[in-house]
Subunit: 337 residues, 2 copies
DNA sequence: CTGAAAGCGCTTACAG
DNA sequence: CTGAAAGCGCTTACAG
């Protein structure tokens, strides 16, 4: 396995020019099939490895995409975005790009510090995974490399965005509860916290409206403070027959809370979640929930950013990818069917 | 924010040469402090961003490290290595390097296909996270870029390795059980599966030996097949008073198994794990377990590979990083103290 | 079908 | 303290 074999070395061995080698190895026009074949064989034999750096320099493209995840989403157990990143990395690889993960520290986010990979021109574009502060978004909007936001959106920013269809996911889930006879349905989540939670809440609300069911403020339970930190869930005096939770982890916490108060799920109260992450599976009973289509979202986001790289003029777009309901055992049927 | 500002542009503006700009921006000798200061200001003002690509090409260094995780370790809930990767990415960033994640598909592993990032010279070195097949290790040993293996080792390979101190972790954990009066202690894990599990088993065995306790084969429970896939745990006729599990997930599964058989933990049988991952926290009762020091291991591995990059002659070394026991509620005290 | 020339944006000697 | 020259390994546009 030769170490630093270059196109010039192959050229010298074959008595041709390095231009010809370049053409042959890139399957371009202008080399006879015979010679092309020969060149590929010799390249293989000499252990030639293509030097992306040189190509990159020539083209001004690094063939890397930065993937930014705010630190607070990477805590002890919150692995959703890390899992997301894994899928993105794969899709990127299929397009001959690489993904460089950057965990955005709270400090850098607060002080509007851009990641080093941007300043060093190591990346051609940025994928932002998870809601960040509006100030930081404004900062990002001023830089010239393409950016695609994933899993949240900001109504002020005219930016490319790939989100899961929170609204219709929870809307359909709430319909499902109502179809099963539930009339008093609560919602758990800080509806001022993120746009995702807001949309999920609105999907829930739309379902209530459509079925002429009242929105009972006592049934709207806050689950986190403004920094996204979970707080203790305060239960209302009288329980609804079901709770729609903004995510599985909160549903899991809610079940524990209900159990500690002597209630059984779903016998005394039904609980549904969102995400279909590990909490949906370890909850007892297992959660009926909405599964986010991470793969489709990854594909969409990567296609978006690569097409923006190819033609800078492309208009921005917002894509929402449908999830699907996963039926398990956390919902009790109240009516006859 | 200028787009393609180069050193030459700054040089032109100031009427000096680009060599001087390079020296000033890199804080090298040979530029007066005054000029250096001025250059930095103008660079900032013009929105100059350093082009790593050019530097990389000159030096033949990409300033990227590939991080390889075998696909089978990235399943639905197995996020341990992903979490590991996150720490590695951070430490790398502190050294001005970037980490590029590559999930090694089972197919590529079986067919000895090296990742594209290697063939494209996108990375200067490789960090291998999690046990891979011996064939693949042999393949890796033949390539010329530095490699550091993390969280497992292969006795055949004279390779740089960073592992958690499995042996002493389980050894101390077993001592802890014995100190609490346990004399019949089982072990759960396929001891032919990975070197980590083997070492954990040996730590357990050493503790038994030291305390003159017999090794009862009926108490050694297999937990996975040769591909690492979990299998149903077969319980012995008569239970020991405690089980040492090779990881938290298996401990979690074991508790469920015991519960389904009508046994309570720790009242009827104590259970301890290893890793202190999410399974240790969601288990009921919470697990007494050994915590792997991911941060320290990440730092060590990154330092190792960067020092190998700097001096290729460095001899290989194997570092084992101590974990520490986390005491929770899954162990019953059998004796008076 | 094949190749000589120029250039991508830096850095490293070396000369002044 | 400052700079002209050469080179890292490719690719592009042009000429033959």
């Amino acid at each position: 396995m030769g170490n630093n074999v270059t196109m010039r070395d192959i050229a010298a061995r074959l008595g041709v020019s390095s231009v010809t080698i370049s053409k042959a190895l890139n399957d371009k026009e202008g080399v006879s099939d015979e010679l092309k074949q020969k060149i590929k064989e010799v390249a293989e034999e000499m252990g030639y490895r293509f030097n992306t750096l040189a190509k990159s320099m020539k083209e001004g493209q690094a063939y890397n995409i930065g993937v930014i995840i705010p630190e607070r989403f990477t805590g002890e157990i919150q692995s959703f975005y890390l899992k997301f990143y894994q899928h993105i990395a794969r899709v990127l690889d299929q397009h001959q790009y690489s993904g460089i993960l950057h965990i955005l520290s709270s400090e850098d986010e607060d002080h509007n510090v851009l990641p080093r990979i941007y300043y060093d021109k190591k990346v051609d574009g940025l994928l932002i995974l998870g809601q960040i502060s509006n100030d930081y978004i404004n900062l990002l909007n001023r830089i010239e490399i393409p950016i695609v936001y994933i899993d949240f959106y900001n109504e002020d920013a005219e930016a490319d965005t790939v989100i899961t269809d929170n609204f219709s996911g929870v809307y359909e889930m709430t319909n499902h509860l109502i179809k099963n006879g539930h009339k008093e349905i609560g919602f758990v989540g800080n509806i001022y916290s993120t746009s995702s939670i807001q949309d999920r809440f609105l999907g829930y609300y739309k379902s209530l409206l459509e079925h002429k069911l009242p929105l009972n403020q006592a049934y709207i339970i806050n689950d986190r403070d403004d920094r996204g930190k979970y707080i203790d869930l305060e239960m209302p005096e009288k329980l609804p027959t079901a709770f729609v939770c903004n995510c599985d982890q909160i549903a899991y916490n809610l079940i524990n809370k209900l159990n500690s108060l002597g209630y059984r799920v779903p016998e005394d109260c039904s609980v549904v979640g969102f995400d279909n992450d590990i909490y949906a599976q370890i909850a007892e009973p297992k959660l009926t929930t909405v599964e986010v289509d991470i793969e489709e979202m990854s594909r969409t986001a990567v296609n978006l950013i690569i097409s923006k790289l190819k033609s800078k003029q492309k208009k921005w777009e917002q894509v929402s990818v449908k999830g699907k309901i996963v039926y398990r055992n956390s919902v009790k049927q109240l009516n006859e069917s």
